[in-house]
Point group: C2
Chain length 335, copies 2
Amino acid sequence: MSRPTIYDVARESGFSIKTVSRVINEAPNVRKETVDRVRAAIELLQYHPDPAAQRLGGGKLPTIGVLVDSIDDPFFAQVVAVIEARAMDVGMDVLVASTGMDETRMRMQIQRLARRGVAGLVVAPFGDPGTVAAALPDDVPVVVVDRKCGVTDKDVVRVTDEQGATDAVRHLVARGHRRIGFLGKTSAFNTLQDRYTGYEKALAEAGIEVDARLVETRAWTADEAYPYALAMLATADAPTAVFAASPMMGLGVLRAQQRLHRQDVALVIFGDYPVAELMTPPTTVIDQRPTALADTAFDLLARRIQDPGAEVLDTVLPTLLVPRGSGELAPRAES
Amino acid sequence: MSRPTIYDVARESGFSIKTVSRVINEAPNVRKETVDRVRAAIELLQYHPDPAAQRLGGGKLPTIGVLVDSIDDPFFAQVVAVIEARAMDVGMDVLVASTGMDETRMRMQIQRLARRGVAGLVVAPFGDPGTVAAALPDDVPVVVVDRKCGVTDKDVVRVTDEQGATDAVRHLVARGHRRIGFLGKTSAFNTLQDRYTGYEKALAEAGIEVDARLVETRAWTADEAYPYALAMLATADAPTAVFAASPMMGLGVLRAQQRLHRQDVALVIFGDYPVAELMTPPTTVIDQRPTALADTAFDLLARRIQDPGAEVLDTVLPTLLVPRGSGELAPRAES
DNA sequence: CGGGGTGTTGACAGCGCTGTCATACCGCCA
DNA sequence: TGGCGGTATGACAGCGCTGTCAACACCCCG
């Protein structure tokens, strides 16, 4: 009364296990009638191949691994959700793992997933190019998402970080802002570095000089960003607008604004977040469109699994400025 | 130059593969010196057992499956994150799957995970007791989270839905509210039903009669809740406070409040959500403490995997009222 | 009518483990 | 001294698949 095996299907259908195997894997050169008979037996017995056995017998696990910073980060949660949905459509399972932003752990998790025999891996890496390149396996298809980290021999999907940041700051400049603050730990990721570059660029275009007092690059978490944001907003020559280079930075700013009752400071956050549209004022964001990112990542992975030799692609998706209110505030009248 | 197998370790250590297997599985009756020698060989060769082979050879996969409504729901994202972290600590992987609130899909996903040979399953089920009971496998350890759904033969972890709702409504009553609205599709889950019961109970305690015009039980998503909330808040005898029985309902109410500029209506939401503390006013919530839920779920699962015959536990965790502002608003003066 | 495809199927040997059972050895007691 | 029980180890047969290779049609063409 155990689960039926391929032998049961073979017996039921009157063919050999090999032919059943062929039908399961949609191999060529099987007569249509045979396929039908085997399919009928499979249906009758409610047979499903055992993934572990398939794996052991030479194939890969019908599974894809996803490794992200943290699963409950809304951005990555969406990425995982999309991958899971897409994987389900093609009958694959998804193994999730998180790095917790720890390099050793990242390497360990990648190894574990690879060892597991997954058919492919979606990874949001971090760290310097050397480390990342060493950590990514070469014998498993890998797609790198969100952060390039100097990877050149794998498919990459990411967004136009610099352009997005430029859009954000231009948007603020267009509203008349000249004193625009920046928050984001530029040393952490190349993405953040790029966003800073975009910030600089937009200012330069407008003939505005970067004021070091308005640039804060030390904070990484929202908790760290908060005091800096507080300090920046509390000074006499506070910025009239702030560009937060990540949602975490954004939260830090929002907390500071709430604390100081300074909702009149314009704000654009790089990266959308839940209920941003319900804030007072609703938050203008640069949407990274995580679902598009994940969709593309899945497509690329599927492509590479199917054709390991395909040309390596570095896909850069556009971001989307979503004006909701906070980014459209005019500079408050100088007191 | 492929991955080392148990044979390589056997050769390297000078013992048979069986003894190596014993060491890997920490089986009894192996001389300490042997263990050390084998361990050294394992270390030297950087050997890691192949999970698929372990599975096929009689064991279970060192993997636990998690099935939730949706992976990017903040509540479930946290649950998944905690399970993943705990699993990693004990060297297990996590397969995620989502039901998308579809019964057929739920059943399918459960079967897939079970077939996969996972060591255990954490499931947030839904649907009537019969369906759920039929969908849950008996040959794999299962822990049911968040919603009991009439399950009696599996371990369950959930929160005090009725008590939490009562707390919320009492809290509002204590502020002087008498006209308190309710939003939540009571027919969807027993959890929501319980929350409604809690609502009724708190009103009864205060000698307040339930006003059918203030009770809306048809909406399930935030989009559905929005028009109802709008209607409820726009009437002449609008409630002075609202209890939203789920975060989604809460979002509907918040949108309606924003639209109508009625931030003066008190609000308590069952279930915390990101940045609730940054809203205007900050949202008072009944925290379901998803991390505690997930921790307990993991503990229960580990216990059952280790001892399949253990007594079945129905664990009910307390919720936590988190006052942040919206729930402490006094009834506005009647116009 | 024979040779060389092409299409269709099956026998069988693994894949890397674990379970079962056998073996070898030790110390102990009668 | 023989026999018994316990400890430590190994031989070997699977687990449920897939890959390889062989077998056996059958067809077309010269």
